[in-house]
């Protein structure tokens, strides 16, 4: 099927719905982000399950992260992550220089305050994907100039 546009539109609607549904008492961004993140989490779990059906077992954590940066990102966003960095202690930074959920919004600092809510779903997507591959993590995102953004994955070991 041809269409990413449909997903983009749906994503925008989901974001705007969640923003409105939360706004009664606590307009605090925390709740909006959490809700969007949870939505993404479920989707991420499902996607990874479908996606790795026929693939061999991953060697290690780094192998899993590479899979997220290449295959997973390509199927969801039609491009790979531009840069993957790690401190080899469980923190990974995934940088996307043209993140698709932001490209339609701005390329610069305009609307920067709205950027976080367009990233929360994707954070959840990554966390959900990782969790189904047996990795517990916390995923956050930051933007300094749109449409570039960085996702930080912190692996939780217990």
């Amino acid at each position: 099927m041809g269409d990413e546009a449909l997903f983009e539109f749906l994503h925008m609607e989901v974001v705007s719905y969640v923003c409105h549904s939360v706004q009664q008492d606590d307009t605090e961004n925390g709740k909006v982000t959490a809700k969007l993140e949870n939505l993404g989490y479920r989707v991420g779990q499902g996607l990874v399950e479908r996606f790795t059906r026929d693939s061999p077992r991953f060697k290690d954590e780094l192998d899993v992260m590479k899979f997220i940066c290449k295959d997973f990102w390509t199927s969801v966003f039609k491009k790979q992550i531009d840069n993957l960095r790690t401190n080899h202690q469980g923190v990974y930074v995934l940088q996307d220089n043209r993140f698709r959920m932001l490209t339609q919004i701005s390329c610069g600092k305009q609307y920067l305050e709205h950027a976080p809510k367009f990233l929360a779903f994707t954070c959840g997507l990554v966390r959900g994907g990782l969790s189904n591959l047996g990795i517990n993590s916390v995923v956050t995102a930051e933007v300094s100039v749109m449409p570039a953004c960085k996702f930080q994955v912190m692996i939780q070991r217990s």
């Binding site: 269409d3 990413e4 749906l10 609607e13 705007s16 719905y17």
Partner: protein, 180 residues
């Protein structure tokens, strides 16, 4: 190795699965947020409408289709071009009313419901009602007021999924003040 080999073919499918999974997550969330199914249907329809009024521009820009002369032509464009582009399926156009102002879109497969099973306590939920909103919104932007609803739903045990479209009226174009 097999991971690489599967990539190309899987890729296309995944993108539609991304959509249906996201849609599913949204419906789940709405069912949590609202107490009754009617409200969920309404909200889905509303969101669909918002998508429709925007997606029409994307559609016209990429399909190169001009204005339709009658409702039959509209039906054809919706089924053969629009559904094909966005959902990858081609519904059948049937059940024309004698006056030619009403028809049905028969969907053998509904991509939105790929991994869905309706629990018994949601019998009034019209799972794919977003589609109605999308159609209504998109057609409104090309000056057609249309009533869209589901009359059959494979999720509820019907043989196929049927969306009924009824032409209500032509929306007059508003001429900006001060112009002829």
């Amino acid at each position: 190795m097999s991971r690489q080999a599967n990539r190309a073919t899987e890729n296309k499918k995944i993108s539609s699965e991304l959509f249906s999974l996201t849609y599913g997550a949204l419906v789940t969330q709405l069912c949590k947020d609202y107490e009754n199914d009617e409200d969920v249907n309404k909200q889905l329809d509303k969101m669909g409408y918002n998508i429709g009024v925007r997606i029409i521009e994307d559609f016209l820009a990429r399909s190169n289709i001009g204005r339709c002369n009658d409702f039959r032509e509209t039906a054809d464009v919706i089924a053969k071009t629009a559904f094909k582009i966005y959902l990858g399926v081609t519904p059948t156009v049937t059940n024309w009313s004698p006056a030619g102002d009403e028809f049905s879109l028969l969907l053998e497969t509904n991509p939105l419901v790929d991994f869905v099973e309706l629990p018994d306590n949601h019998s009034n939920l019209v799972y794919s009602s977003m589609l109605c909103g999308v159609l209504r919104g998109a057609l409104e932007m090309v000056q057609m007021a249309v009533d869209v609803r589901f009359v059959q739903d494979s999720l509820k045990g019907d043989g196929s999924t049927e969306i009924r479209l009824k032409f209500l009226k032509r929306i007059e174009e508003n001429i900006p003040a001060g112009e002829e």
